[in-house]
């Protein structure tokens, strides 16, 4: 909405099409509804920030195209020769999100709710984080910067500090941001050169990001006395400051030695919430408190209440983030601690979880404070709307844009040239954002030596594949990673570190980003089938004190194998070497293996004998878990 309001005013023209605006609004609500239904139902691709299933992906593409047509239509019919910096950011946002979304969502549909991504394993991970990192950047950073460039000078009634700074930091930001994705994959099986690029570009990103913060804060020169009184400015100052902190912390977390500590812990969670609650949340509140009374032609209902909201929100963020920093650091140190004799000081993973539960309680307090603040804000805006009259259309007139003449007054900045040419702007933004992705992704996909093959790694069996899809459906990847980094504590705790060649049949990759529970990559063969059975029924029986939820429905729900032929065919098309006609035997093959697992369970626990477990989901997930990471332990057979 901020985009819609500021766009029209900055271009002195009406949106190109009101109809498209409404389509955009309502279809986006539909996307949100779809997400709210499909995700809890377990329909997901499990790729972070791209979890939605392929039909919803298509809908999003449509929504985005609608938005693009409307925005560019408006820009092209504008009555202002030059584009203001906010619009540059909107253009970059639109094109980058479009590119990211399309490339990430290239997937081969299997059923209406399921699909397999084009790439597997390491490549899938790289594409995912090229997408994931920049989805945050270009969905939550650049449009918000654009909004800041409109609402902050408006609210402060001060000129923007430096036009030059806007230019430099805009172009540097969109160019460098794209490269930084691999910092989510440090110390993983990703080749070192990709990791290093992620690190150095993240460090180079500090200054361009801070350019936005500086231009925001320095614009407030001479208006700081009003910050004390005006809740709108208060929100904005904290937002911009949170942005500055998060964009400094991010590059620091991209340094490998720091990432070795922070990754897989709550530190990352704290980091993103400073950004999401502080920067995005507070800028939204600030803009709303400024905009709302103007739309309703009245004063804000209660400035006092807005101040209370501000303090609740600020305290909420602090109570949320600080315990999580603490928890992340504590847990990482516990994971890494060895006794002098060389045993893990905290060999039982659960001990490190139990230790940080109080921090989780604090986090709930912080989140609740923030949420109460939001509720107060909603109430305040509601009352404001009630006392004013809605101004649907603002009467405005502006002379039609004169075609810019070739002879620009000399002595102007060279950059004014491109500001008159939105299409060139779009083109150059696209080229700049494409470079980073191309340099990183193309070699990974087309140069085979980047992922050394391991001869004993085989595709998943049909039953394991079904188990894997259940693993995705149940969201296991949210708490369990499948990536053992080359550190002493991880190889001692979990087993041999992960190799890139082991993941070539993983579609999608399931490395995970957070270890609320232990890593599972070498889980295969570690525990008995019956252990897994009991663990799923009630995790507390095998792991006292565990905070994992029970999954008893896995023993009730009937194993659905009917899509297996389609899955096998789809995977073969994508490059998994299943033998010819294998899809015809896939179901029988899965049933055979399922019987084996059920028989083993019966042998290990006499109560489970002949309980008909072979057609329940539990056997598939046990089969999958017992397969994890075992391929490299197989001795190569001599027959080839």
């Amino acid at each position: 909405m901020g985009v819609y309001y500021s766009l029209q005013r900055l271009l002195k023209t009406r949106m190109w099409s009101d109809k498209l605006s409404w389509i955009h609004f309502w279809s986006w609500q539909v996307v949100i509804l779809c997400a709210a239904y499909t995700l809890p139902m377990g329909m997901t691709t499990s790729s972070e920030y791209a979890e939605l299933i392929w039909p919803v992906d298509l809908l999003i593409t449509l929504v985005w195209v609608v938005f693009g047509i409307n925005m560019f239509g408006t820009i092209l019919t504008r009555r202002e020769n030059h584009l203001y910096v906010a619009i540059w950011f909107y253009i970059a946002t639109w094109v980058t999100v479009a590119v990211l979304h399309i490339v990430r969502s290239i997937e081969l549909p299997v059923t209406f709710t399921q699909s397999y991504p084009l790439f597997s394993g390491v490549q899938d991970a790289l594409v995912q984080w090229w997408y994931g990192h920049n989805a945050v950047a270009f969905f939550l950073t650049t449009p918000y910067l654009g909004m800041m460039y409109y609402f902050l000078p408006k609210a402060a009634n001060r000129p923007v500090y430096s036009y030059k700074l806007s230019i430099i930091h805009f172009w540097a930001l969109i160019f460098i941001y794209i490269w930084a994705g691999p910092h989510h994959l440090l110390y993983s099986s990703m080749p070192d050169w990709v990791q290093s690029l992620g690190t150095v570009f993240s460090i180079m990103l500090i200054a361009p990001s801070w350019g936005g913060m500086l231009n925001g804060l320095l614009t407030l020169r001479g208006a700081w006395d009003r910050v004390r009184q005006d809740p709108v400015l208060k929100f904005m100052v904290v937002a911009v400051t949170a942005y500055g902190m998060a964009t400094f912390e991010g590059p620091m977390l991209s340094i490998k030695s720091i990432n070795a500590i922070s990754h897989f812990t709550d530190w990352t969670i704290a980091h993103v919430h400073v950004g999401a609650l502080g920067w995005n949340g507070f800028l939204t509140f600030g803009a709303l408190y400024w905009l709302w009374p103007r739309i309703y032609r009245t004063e804000l209902y209660s400035r006092q209440l807005a101040n209370v909201h501000f303090w609740l929100g600020t305290l909420g963020i602090i109570f949320y983030a600080v315990p999580l920093y603490w928890a992340g650091w504590t847990q990482a140190m516990m994971w890494k601690e060895f006794t002098p004799e060389g045993t893990l000081a905290w060999g039982n993973f659960l001990d490190t979880v139990k230790h940080i539960i109080p921090m989780y309680a604090m986090r709930v307090v912080g989140g609740t404070l923030f949420f109460i603040g939001v509720l107060l804000g909603v109430y305040n805006l509601y009352k404001t709307a009630g006392q004013g009259t809605f101004m649907a259309n603002e009467p405005a007139e502006a002379p039609a844009r004169e075609r810019a003449t070739a002879d620009e007054p000399s002595g102007q900045y060279w950059h004014r040239w491109i500001e008159r040419r939105p299409i060139q702007m779009l083109l150059w933004s696209t080229i700049l954002i494409a470079i980073g992705g191309i340099v990183q992704i193309i070699p990974m996909v087309f140069i085979e030596s980047q992922v050394p093959k391991i001869s004993t790694v085989r595709p998943y069996t049909p039953l394991e594949l079904t188990g894997r899809d259940i693993y995705i459906r149940e969201g296991c990847v949210g708490c369990h990673s499948q990536m053992i980094r080359p550190f002493r504590d991880e190889t001692v705790r979990y087993g041999e570190y992960s190799k890139s060649g082991e993941y070539i049949y993983d579609r999608p990759f399931l490395w995970g980003s957070k270890r609320t529970g232990p890593d599972l990559w070498r889980e295969g063969g570690r525990n008995l089938d019956i252990w897994h059975f009991n663990h799923m029924m009630d995790p507390r029986t095998t792991s006292p004190g565990s905070i994992m939820p029970p999954y008893p429905h896995l023993t009730d729900q009937v194993l659905d194998l009917k899509d297996l032929p389609a899955k096998i065919t789809a995977l073969r098309k994508l490059g998994t070497p299943y033998p010819r006609d294998f899809e015809k035997y896939a179901i029988a093959n899965a049933q055979e293996q399922a019987k084996g697992v059920a028989k083993t369970l019966g042998e290990q626990e006499s109560k489970l004998k002949d309980q008909g477990l072979e057609d329940k989901e539990i056997v598939a997930i046990i089969a999958y878990l017992q397969r994890l990471g075992t391929d490299i332990k197989v001795q190569p057979t001599t027959n080839q």
Binding site: V160, Y161, S162, Y187, V200, L214, G347, T542
Partner: protein, 323 residues
């Protein structure tokens, strides 16, 4: 005036880069090819310190030259009575101290609010005006430094330096751990292994063993050793051999194909000795809900015989040592 300042920044970038690459090249050959930690760190420190010194020196030289050049210009102008160039006049007229000038050059250089009318652009967007302030110098310098750092990083780890890869670093870490472990294990209490371990009967040690048992073993073997997922410890039957040495070995290495995990990464040798002794003490306690016996009755005779001596025929019924 503006273009002049940009040139300065560019010059600074070029110099800094040249200085850095020289420093790295001169120190790189001194580093050994082996992945030793200390020399690596020394290389970095030397490279960084060298380039910083070089940059500072170059800046100093250039600044002194600039200053002298201005002075000469001023003197000449005074002699000839000509009007100073506007630029020289501006900097001379403000009469800033050395530190103020340094601050404006390298730290911050905002036009005071009272004068901002002079640098306001004529354009406005929905009433928003823009100023033409210089880029904050500290910000520009920070940007330049991060770029230099990035090039240095890539050089050290990929393009020519001998920075260790992730796996090389891991191998070093493991080798170091092995060294420090062997030192720590040299102490007597921890030197026990399956060949020389003896059962302890001291009640304090057994108490500690019980604590470890309750924490780590009871989940599968029962709170009182009655068995569960794992076998019963209270009866006389053993799957992998009874007696302290076999129990110790089973705990230490595990029996992966049967779901018994290896504990040597979590329990110290002395801890494994204590818990193995505690397990032995459970023999014949007859707890409720016992699991059916598994394996064979362990013959105390077998235990008394020294395993290192020639194995008697009876030993063949024990599981093979291979796993």
């Amino acid at each position: 005036m503006k273009s002049k300042k940009y040139t300065g920044t560019l010059l600074f970038m070029a110099m800094a880069f040249a200085g850095w690459s020289q420093a790295v090249q001169s120190t790189a050959p001194t580093a050994t090819t082996e992945a030793q930690q200390l020399p690596d760190i020394m290389t970095i420190i030397l490279a960084v310190a060298g380039s910083v010194l070089f940059i500072v020196a170059m800046i100093y030289v250039v600044k002194v030259n600039q200053f002298l050049y201005k002075k000469v210009l001023e003197l000449e102008a005074q002699k000839s009575g000509a009007i100073l160039p506007a630029e020289a006049e501006a900097s001379a007229a403000t009469g800033d101290s050395f530190w103020t000038r340094m601050r404006k050059q390298y730290w911050e250089d905002a036009v005071p609010i009272e004068h901002e009318g002079e640098i306001t652009f004529h354009h406005a967007y929905d009433g928003i005006r823009e100023l033409d302030n210089r880029l904050p110098p500290w910000w520009v310098n920070m940007f330049v430094l991060t770029i230099i750092w990035a090039v240095g990083y890539m050089y050290y780890y990929h393009w020519g330096g001998d920075g260790p890869s992730s796996i090389e670093r891991y191998n070093t870490e493991m080798a170091d751990a092995k060294k420090s472990m062997s030192i720590a294990l040299a102490g007597k209490a921890n030197a026990v292994d399956e060949s020389n371990v003896e059962a302890i009967t001291d009640s304090g040690a057994l108490g500690e063993g019980e604590l470890i048992y309750k924490n780590s073993c009871a989940v599968c073997h029962g709170q009182k050793g009655e068995g569960g997922i794992g076998p019963n410890f209270a009866d006389a039957y053993w799957l992998h051999g009874g007696g302290i040495k076999n129990i110790f070995k089973t705990i230490k290495y595990g029996v992966p194909e049967k779901g018994m995990i290896s504990w040597q990464s979590q329990l110290r040798p002395s801890d494994m000795q204590k818990v193995a002794s505690y397990i032995l003490s459970l023999q014949g306690t007859n707890p409720p809900n016992q699991k059916d016996p598994q394996g064979v009755i362990w013959n105390e005779e077998g235990e008394t015989q020294d395993p290192s001596a020639t194995p008697p025929a009876g030993q063949t019924e024990q599981p093979a040592d291979s796993k």
